[in-house]
Chain length 482, copies 2
């Protein structure tokens, strides 16, 4: 498979907003508003009844625009959409995002068929209909239509998110902005009349901005299951795919029927497909992104042996439980390693695993211990529980710790992944956010940190099975620079 | 059992800080500093080498203080502690909180025995040693010793938190402050030389400020298991108890041995005790407090039938899955109820369960639907997924919705518990926080909201089994006012 030619949806040079409106309560106003806020290409509102909207010259049709138009975002009543697409075709438009609802999802199968037919005739690719479209921080493409006073938009990052549900997708964007989670691309798929998750996988696996692909899906369209499976098989040896598939329960499948109308299918079939194709399945929204952040910032683990490096004993115990619950190991360390740790730690510290440096610890107790653990050869991943609030830990601990981790990892044949758990408030999260910016994923609880390590171990196992572990780690090291 | 006389630890009239220091890096300075910031009683630093600390007159010993002293907080080297307690006894002190470490946890069993002996001789109650002590927003008691520039303290609320781990306890306080979670009392138990979790249960079950008791424990002391079980049995028919017990795994139990030295015991024994005594067991920190917030703000559910009322279809599907994963039901609604809903909803809404009012919904679609669902007799609890960001929902939705819920619940024989899920960012959480202040617990994800409902159903089942459901609901309604 070559890379599908979907760039037009993410990096168009010029965009027409068809159905742009002067009325702030209308979708066609809000899309134009949101695009104008961020998009750096040429923007053309289309509305036969207006001459100017939001300070932009307005055109009666796409074909009337005196410029090439790469992409049209369409928000006119559903019955008018095929004609608009036809007009786009005459203009040489390469892609359309159809926001308008009122197609297959309400039984108008024929209208959707017609839309696709017209688009195919002109070689136009379609996202939607009945979707929210795309959000791409890098190009400023933003076809969402909610008031930015009521929601935030995340910055550029390494995680792509594909959502079958537009509303959920938008809620995630908003939450991601608050959490400080960066996205490379967001795509709301809607009815998937043309572009679907399989094609996006083939696109995103080649996308240099995307390290991890996340998805919310309710169901793959009938007849497209095989294609989806093949696309997953091509993707996962090269990039991790994390999927939140709903409709696990019978009642959930029924709910899907009245939501997107997708066939949820027997959940065990999806589960088997995910297992066979190395997809990491998340059971909820926070898990989806907890896992994705870890996979986007840290290399996969080469095994399941976890070291816990903590400033607080109780958190160390809970982290141990959480690891064991997930089938990870928290092994005893060898006498030699325990001795090395004992030498650098305070007498009241506990040099076993968990390594509990104690609440009296200073920065060097953390940096020395992490080096010893990483070089021990006895563990494959580390959970770091720093308790930034204790008096002996300085405000510079993050820089010191991250630098040490990078230095040691550069020396190692296989880098050791590290994630952190920081239960605490504002001061703690100021430092934790800095640590994450510097490359160590940070979580509010040890349970979530353990889940992140689990995903790194699981993906490592898959890569080994596919024979691409070394290759993946090699190129991942280049991405993160150590 | 009468109520144990532990008021002195939470509401003393006067407190001596023994080992108060002028040195800001010392524990004895920070305790005095933290106490001075909030405590509204009379405060006496004790240090033979100082005449004044932080503007307070300093005394050479507790017995030299020219006033009655209710409570002494002791932060002197361990070997000196028994003599300090003896001096306290001569002064008529009723309780001591021993912050000092260096007792049983490091093998100094004899010193700890002596401390208890001296205290008993004088009739002094002891919290600790090797603990962080207490934090009580209502009285300003705060014996924690971390710099408040590095941590926050929660406001007054209805949840009591008992922690065997001091560091974890402090991290939770800090996180609770950021999350806006109120606590009635926090107690760090340390070595539990005297006051233990069983006695605190008997105290807190009678505490008018406490609606829910939460605990982090690593292990109950040898020989005290029966007592703990009996205390739990007395408590849970009257107030919910939620416990995070670590040492679930073998590696976790090993970690406990080097942390608090407690015998973790076979986890299945604890699990059986919790089942027999109606304790709700949480598997992590966020779950512990997610569940506690629900139990502190909402009545228990009289059954497992859940209605989902959502503005976003995908979230409705995921909430359904999450409920079913937990053994809750999301039943089909009767034709009569579906018809009632259809009449008040938009044509594009889905009047089944989940009730999906759609992204075009206005406030009244939520308020009318919730009334129909609550009065249907077909469901026992509701998950509300409001999507505050959609344009048709006003900023007043929270007031309108909460008022309607209260009004309808007043009319019902058994109130219907409601929790909300609000995936989103700053605007969403401004409204969600308001909803929680007004009594509807709000969660970042549908999965966490489902867990909260699960706890309300589980506690309802326990109360029915104990025959105290009606009585509990009756008194809970008085507390929340509807």
């Amino acid at each position: 498979m070559g890379r599908p030619d979907l760039d037009v949806f993410f990096f168009p040079q010029s965009v027409a907003i068809v159905g742009a409106s002067r009325e702030p309560t209308k979708v066609g106003y809000q899309i134009l508003y949101n695009m104008k806020m961020r998009y750096r290409g040429r923007l053309y509102p289309v509305n036969p009844k207006a001459t100017e909207i939001l300070g932009l010259r307005c055109y009666p049709s796409v074909s009337a625009i005196p410029d090439t138009v790469d992409l049209a975002v369409i928000a006119v009543p559903a019955p008018k959409v095929p004609d608009v697409v036809d007009d786009c075709g005459k203009k040489g438009v390469k892609g359309v995002i159809v926001i308008s609802a009122g197609f297959k999802e309400v039984g108008n199968v024929e209208l959707e068929r017609k839309l696709v037919e017209v688009a195919r005739k002109h070689g136009i690719r379609v996202i939607g209909p009945n979707c929210v479209g795309v959000y791409v921080p890098k190009s400023g493409m933003n076809t969402t239509f909610l008031n930015p006073q009521r929601m935030g938009f995340p910055e550029h990052g390494h995680i792509a998110f594909i959502s079958q549900s537009g509303a959920f997708g938008v809620a995630v964007l908003d939450w991601a902005a608050m959490r400080g989670l960066g996205l490379s691309k967001f795509v709301s798929l809607g009815n998937k009349a043309d572009v679907d998750e399989s094609e996006l996988l083939d696109y995103l696996v080649e996308d240099p901005d995307t390290r991890v692909i996340t998805m919310y899906i309710e169901g793959v369209e009938p007849g497209k299951g095989r294609q989806f499976m093949e696309a997953l098989k091509r993707t996962t040896p090269r990039k991790p795919v994390v999927v939140l598939k709903s409709g696990r329960s019978e009642a959930g499948a029924r709910a899907i029927a009245s939501h997107t109308g997708s066939l949820a299918g027997a959940d065990r079939v999806y589960d088997a497909v995910f297992k066979q194709t190395g997809v990491i399945r998340a059971m909820g929204m926070e898990e989806l992104f907890d896992v994705a952040v870890a996979l986007s910032l840290q290399p996969p683990a080469k095994g399941r042996r976890v070291a816990i490096l903590t400033v607080g004993g109780g958190s160390g115990v809970m982290a141990t439980d959480a690891c064991c619950d997930l089938g990870l190991e928290v092994p005893r360390l060898s006498d030699a390693t325990v001795e090395k740790l004992r030498k650098v730690l305070l007498p009241i510290a506990s040099p076993y695993n968990p390594v509990d440096v104690s609440g009296s610890a200073r920065d060097e107790h953390l940096t020395e211990s992490v080096e010893i653990l990483m070089k021990s050869g006895e563990i494959d991943a580390i959970i770091w529980i720093p308790y930034f609030m204790v008096p002996g830990i300085s405000e510079q601990i993050v820089e010191k710790f991250v630098e040490r981790v990078k230095k040691v990892n550069r020396e190692l044949d296989t880098p050791i992944p590290i994630v952190g758990a920081a239960t605490g408030g504002d001061y703690t999260w100021k430092l934790a956010a800095k640590a994450e910016k510097m490359g160590i994923p940070m979580y509010l609880s040890v349970e979530r940190a353990a889940k992140a390590i689990w995903a790194l171990a699981k993906y490592g196992e898959w890569l080994k099975k596919r024979g691409t572990f070394e290759q993946y780690v090699e190129s991942f090291r280049k991405l993160i620079g150590y």
